[in-house]
């Protein structure tokens, strides 16, 4: 009787259509926005999980809109075993550099600058995309398929308002005065 049950189970497994085996990727996230300083590195934490039937190699990336503004550092490809639930998601850091966004108003090239933040804060919207390993290439005419899971990300860049700094002018005046004093002093000494 037992052997009949085993045989029947094996037959069932063989009869299950191939369409039942699944391969995909899961993403877990705890933030959809970041408020960051310009000219600074930023890292955000995500989790990749795989509650499906096959092991995958997965990677995080960002959508085109964000690629145009932030410089994403290379993200590692992580191996995620089949049947990995969200509670055991593999942590992945997405790190990128925020460029200089706000143009300072300078009296002289690069010095005596002010930032009024009159244009408001800049923000960029895009997506963080988790992609599973590529699918096998099929023979014959047709298309291969890829699957990805995407979450929104909005990056708002802080504008640090500051008044024009005259420190360079003061230092220059000090140096000039010291030189004048030195010249004056040495001339008098010679006399």
């Amino acid at each position: 009787m037992k052997s009949k049950i085993i045989l029947f189970s094996l037959l069932l497994i063989l009869l299950i259509p191939s369409g039942f085996a699944l391969k995909g990727v899961g993403i877990k996230w705890t933030s959809e926005s970041a408020y960051v300083d310009e000219k600074s590195p930023v890292c955000l934490d995500y989790g990749i999980y795989n509650p499906w039937d096959e092991d995958i190699n997965a990677q995080l990336g960002v959508s085109k809109e964000l690629q145009e503004v932030i410089r994403v550092k290379e993200t590692e490809t992580v191996f995620v075993k089949a049947n990995t639930p969200n509670t055991n998601a593999v942590p992945v850091k997405l790190c990128f550099d925020i460029p200089k966004v706000y143009k300072d108003n300078c009296l002289v090239a690069g010095v005596i600058c002010e930032q009024t933040c009159s244009l408001g804060e800049v923000n960029y919207k895009g997506e963080v995309i988790a992609t599973g390993s590529g699918t096998e290439v099929s023979a014959g005419s047709g298309s291969t398929a890829t699957v990805s899971a995407s979450v929104p990300l909005e990056i708002r860049i802080k504008c640090n308002q500051h008044e024009r700094s005259y420190i360079v002018v003061y230092i220059a005046v000090l140096i000039i005065l010291l030189i004048i004093a030195l010249i004056f002093y040495t001339k008098r000494k010679k006399m």
Binding site: P17, S18, G19, F20, A21, L22, K23, G24, V25, G26, I27, K28, W29, T30, G47, Y49, N50, P51, W52, P85, N86, A89, E127, I129, T135, E136, V137, S138, G140, S141, G142, S143, T144, A145, T146, V147, S148, A149, S150, V151, P152, S165, Y166, I167, Y170, I171, V173, L174, L177, L178, I180, A181, L182, F184, Y185, R188, K189
Partner: protein
């Protein structure tokens, strides 16, 4: 006489120092009296997660047509399984805590060397039960919305049809079809 020179130099340096420190004096205005306060941190962490997967037919066989002829119109892809449930489907894992909208796009037209089959000849439809040719649309290079608000544990089914222009050159035409899941309400 030398004493006077030294005095002049000292006066100049003092003036310079005052000039330098002037902006700092300005900034330090407004000192307050003493006060005590206790700061207590407060935080709440919300985690969202979802997972999607493509059917085995999609990931291993792909979307396939064999034995096509120039002039063929709206030929079913091999996995369409018109007689029953399509073998092409995307499933939202029951290990998800949000509903999912699905999006589809093509990487390029079907291409064989220098020859291509226009995207307008590559049609698709999605449905949670039975995708139909009558509601099919041409696939695009940009993501287009398929079905929305797919709850955890449910699937979205797809069918694909291909027409071959009359003068199409022989060849093995390939491209990649991408399926993307987003949390319901977000754009593709």
């Amino acid at each position: 006489m030398e004493k006077n020179n030294l005095l002049v130099a000292v006066v100049i340096i003092v003036i310079a120092l005052v000039l330098i420190s002037y902006p700092n004096f300005q900034k330090n205005k407004g000192l307050t009296g003493s006060a005590t306060e206790i700061l207590v941190g407060s935080s709440a962490l919300i985690a969202n997660y979802f997972a999607i997967a493509a059917s085995n037919t999609l990931t291993t066989d792909g979307i396939k047509w064999s034995g096509l002829n120039p002039g063929d119109i709206d030929v079913n892809a091999e996995g369409n399984n018109q007689a029953g449930t399509s073998n092409y489907f995307i499933t939202v894992s029951s290990d998800s805590n949000v509903n999912v909208d699905l999006c589809v796009k093509a990487s390029a037209p079907l291409t064989s060397g220098l020859n291509t089959i226009p995207l307008t000849d590559y049609k698709w439809d999605s449905d949670i039960v039975n995708p139909l040719l009558t509601s099919a649309i041409a696939i695009d290079l940009a993501y287009a919305g398929a079905d929305t608000s797919i709850a955890p544990g449910n699937s979205d089914y797809y069918r694909f049809w291909l027409s071959v222009p009359g003068n199409q050159a022989a060849g093995t035409y390939t491209n990649t079809i991408s399926f993307k899941g987003v949390q319901t309400g977000n754009v593709c």
